[in-house]
């Protein structure tokens, strides 16, 4: 779920309700846009384009802050939104004699959203059918139903896998943290953490399981720092992240000949 100011949750995870960090995962720009429209209960036929653009871009920044590689399509949509926004700001030239008034600059986007939404609903129906079907077993069909890599998860969702793994760790940390937090500023720096993760990986040339990078019993702050360190190492091409199958463990490997 996107919050009005999602970054604040990352920086200040213990604010008020200490809600767990929610990392919304959107398949594409259309899904994200529809989500924003619904969440803020906007009229799809009269989208407040400035507001939606702002929220949309905020989400992109939010993902960027986590070093998530967003599909290029997200950026294309951001550009489209801004273009529409600027066209909305321009005064409308009067329609030439005898012609209809110009088309609303939002029209094409609205049409696409409505079309996409139909299929999203249809997908919801398929999910219901799947749920029902999952409760009916043909004879000898148990093998077919075994969970495993046959479950359709795209290989390019590595970033998503990492985020979800992070979320699991944070949720666990949340359960542990009943001790009132004390003030310990600058207990660790990112640079220090990178060195620590790197050192651990040096001792394991075959790689470490993702979870093993995180010190057991670490708090949120430490988990996030470790995760950021991992992302930093990934970006620098010093480690590689491998997930052999859809439901498999995530392996972090140092890149050789550095």
């Amino acid at each position: 779920m996107i919050d009005a100011n999602p970054k604040s949750k990352i920086q200040n995870p213990k604010s008020e309700e200490s809600a767990p960090i929610r990392l919304p995962v959107f398949e594409g720009p259309m899904e994200l846009l529809l989500h924003l429209i619904r969440q803020h209960k906007l009229d799809i036929y009269d989208i407040p384009i400035a507001q939606v653009t702002k929220q949309y871009v905020e989400y992109l920044h939010y993902m960027e802050a986590l070093n998530v590689d967003l599909a290029g399509e997200f950026l294309v949509m951001a550009a489209t939104l801004m273009e529409i926004k600027s066209r909305m700001l321009l005064p409308k030239p009067p329609p030439p004699e005898g012609e209809e008034e110009g088309v609303d600059p939002r029209q094409e986007l609205v049409d696409r959203l409505l079309e996409y939404q139909k299929f999203q609903e249809a997908a919801g129906l398929l999910r219901e059918l799947e749920e029902e079907r999952r409760r009916c077993f043909p004879r000898g069909g148990l093998i077919d139903f075994e969970p495993g890599p046959s479950i359709a998860i795209e290989p390019e969702s590595a970033a998503v896998s990492l985020l979800l793994a992070l979320r699991r760790l944070l949720d666990e940390a949340d359960k542990r943290e009943d001790v009132p937090p004390t003030l310990r500023r600058d207990r660790m720096t990112l640079r220090l953490k990178i060195r620590e993760v790197w050192a651990a990986l040096q001792e394991a040339p075959d790689g470490l399981v993702f979870e093993a990078l995180f010190r057991h019993g670490g708090d949120r702050e430490e988990i996030i720092a470790t995760f950021l360190a991992l992302l930093e190492l990934l970006r620098g091409g010093r480690v590689r992240v491998v997930q052999r199958e859809a439901l498999g463990t995530i392996l972090v490997r140092p890149v050789e000949g550095e």
Binding site: E73, Y116, F119, A122, E130, E132, R133, R135, R139, P147
Partner: protein
Amino acid sequence: MTESSLDRLPEAIECLLFAATEPLTLERLAKVLERDEAEVYRAMVELRLRYTSGRGMQIRQVAGGFQLVTHPDFGEIVTRLLSAPPGRLSRAALETLSIIAYQQPITLPEIESIRGVNASGVVKTLVDRGLVREAGKKESAGRPMLYATTDEFLMYFGLKDLSQLPDLDTFAATLSEELSNPSGTPSQEGEEAPASDDDRQETSEAA
């Protein structure tokens, strides 16, 4: 087959459905039983009637045929036989499947223009899984590959045939109502959010 066993056509069909693991069409049943399809159909109706209560099994009409499957009411119990509950398709896979199911045959660029995002990975996974098949090439520039759903798709979702899917425009109707009426019903407050939330949770389970 002896005379007496031929008299008991519903029971004979029951045996065949039990012995076969995949759905059997009326045509196939009629051939094996050496009866005409109308007669087999009447016996099937009679048999299905007997299965309407007091049974742990049911006869489903799926992918153009009939299949004996466990009753959904006992799904949870059967699942205990498994190390983990049966897997689910990802949201991206379901979305792509719904586009292919309604617009088939359809090319990859056409799927991508609806979803607004690259779909080659998903489509490949769906083909590997047998839910989608390549259905020739489109006679247009570059002759792109066309995709269509398979019988496996029908079986996976327990569908008799594609016509069982509701008309796509029925979705449009409910939608316009919902999205153009933002102040809507009071219950809308929490309605959308938890629904999509559940979905995300699924994704996290799957990863």
